[in-house]
Amino acid sequence: MTAITERQQLAYVDAQAADARVNVEVETDEGMVLNIGPQHPATHGTLRITAKLDGEQVVWADVVPGYMHRGYEKLTEVRTYPQVTTLINRIDWLGSFANEVPFILAAEQLMEIEAPPRAQAIRTILFEMARLANIVLFLGDLGVQLGAVTPAFFAFRDREHVLDQIESVTGGRFHPNFDRIGGLKDDLPKGWLADTKAVMSRIRGFCDEIETLLFGNEIFEARTRGVGVIPAEVALSYGLSGANLRASGVDWDLRRDGGTGLLHDQVDWKVWTHPDGDSFARCWVRLQETREATLMIDQLCDGLPGGPIMAKVPRIIKVPAGEAYVETENPLGAMGYYIVSKGDLGPFRVKIRSASFSNISVVPWLLKGVYVPDIITILASLYFILGDIDR
């Protein structure tokens, strides 16, 4: 056994550090490369952004995703259809139920089953509740990213009630795993509808609070207005979706235009757009959508049809051979599943189109020429969930 001298040890450490430096940052005469992430408070997860800085100004920036890639597309191939929902719950972990819906709808489309009306209505309610659970946290987190801690606690406080409602139906606060091919696992518990309406009015109160606390603040406006402007054609060419696209003035919402198996066409609601395309517009559109979602849930609770919550499906689910793609308007944007079935118990191949992955593709284009604090504003306003980037 040869003893390793301290000198050798140091040389090794030196070499490792040099390697790390070469990999992590290429220092040049033009400026300094700032490596934001994978461990950084602003990336809420393990997103890495490398930005070449000239002083505080970004000359060039790139996004390096993939630090949390879990291989869900591959994993779905070795699972049966009902098992897949457990996995895909974890894609956008703040609005978990919404992840299940497009997959189940795609499977139903292949099997030519339609869920009974009551199941569809409850699905839509839970889908919108997932949106609330997600976007309410966004509105709070926005403050943290811009330096105001207090809104985050208000968000957690009020989001708790939404999670309670989701939990009392599904049994899961974070990962409901509740949607089934042909309907839902269970019916609503007693008294749930009245509680839900109370929670919805509470969330509307939260929206008002945030509107006065953040959106009415001069510093907030100074930080977000005109920062990270995405023109409509750029937004479309980068494949943005959801509030990011609508904030650029593109009036496109899959809940209205998609024609999928959810009941959004039976309620009275409005698609909010904003002409500016800047960070403020993105945040503002999300705030309005939160309000709209609470109103939608109220209406759905009022007109909830009776009847079964499960269609007739065989005990062992075999999806006939074929291909289907279903896309829905999830909290983060358009989320779709392309399922290729060969008639087995599990899918042959699943392609997951998640919103955040496309949404952050515009980041390198956006970050050119902005200041370091604006990087954070832009990332916060584009709003991604790391699990939604790295499936």
């Binding site: 450490v13 510093i219 930080r223 200041y371």
Partner: protein, 345 residues
Amino acid sequence: MSAMTLAIELAWWQQTVLRSVGMLVAVLIPAGTLVYVFLFKMMSFMQSRLGPMEAGPYGSMQLLAEVGKWIQKEDIVPWRADRKLFAMAPYIVVASVFLVLAAVPFGPDAWFTDLDVGIFYVLAVASISVIGILIAGWSSANKYSLLGGLRAAGQLIAYELPMVLAVVGVVIQAGTLNLQQIVAAQHEGEIFGFGGIGNPFIFTQLIGFFIFVVAMQAELAQAPFDMPIAESELVSGYMTEYSGMRFLLFFIAEFATAGAFAAVAATLFLGGWAVPGLPLDAGYMNVVGPIVVLVKIMLVSFLVFWVRFTYPRFREDQLQQLAWKVLIPLSLVNILATMALKVAF
């Protein structure tokens, strides 16, 4: 104010010992109170939570627990850091707090040094902390620290100016730079003939007070001016690489500086240690005075922390614009107005 109005005569060395101990108390008591009352409790209540509740009644011993934790922690120095500078930086920052408080009077005899150029000295030594912060940012061998340190330097220098200019109004009105005499001037003054509460300069120098508090907020690097720390951008700014005892020193310095600046603001604008109606040279004012100052420190800090917990952060360029385009012209106008009124009345 003669040196000896205490009931007991003290030898010079006894006074010196008392003043040295008093200095530690004057730095640590406001800092501890601010941390507990504002950072732990007020912040929690504003954010609809309780804050620390376990250590002591209502969590009042939490700070001791925290200090114990920090002392135990490993003292990590980054491999590529400049060790000597890295170790020195927190001490420089803490030292500046002591230097600031040294000139602040707490009673007719409860002062540490009674300088004739008191406020000038205070404003001069207050900027020493910038050097410590810059050293911390540079020596950490971390890009976030570097950005934070440079931001701090730019910010603290920009806000030094409105602060000084805001104080000039008070100095013109009081006609002295000596803090003890500024207190006396406020105690004996009259507001347009009404002398019932003396003349705390907050009434006549309201704009000056406003500018002073804003500049103070920036000097303390509290939100909305917390870019040097900016935890969502720069992780923790110049403090990123500090841990254990050295972080504790920065932490103490942050809140002790808040206390020291609040004490200066209380002395300049709120009448200092004097109580309207009570004589200035009574011996018991040496006991009442510090309590009065502490109460006024809490009042001023309440403003500072209230804003801190509510507002989002400015961007660096917006902060500079606020300093150079708004606060400095405003304070110059304030000085001109004070001068005109001083001559007129």
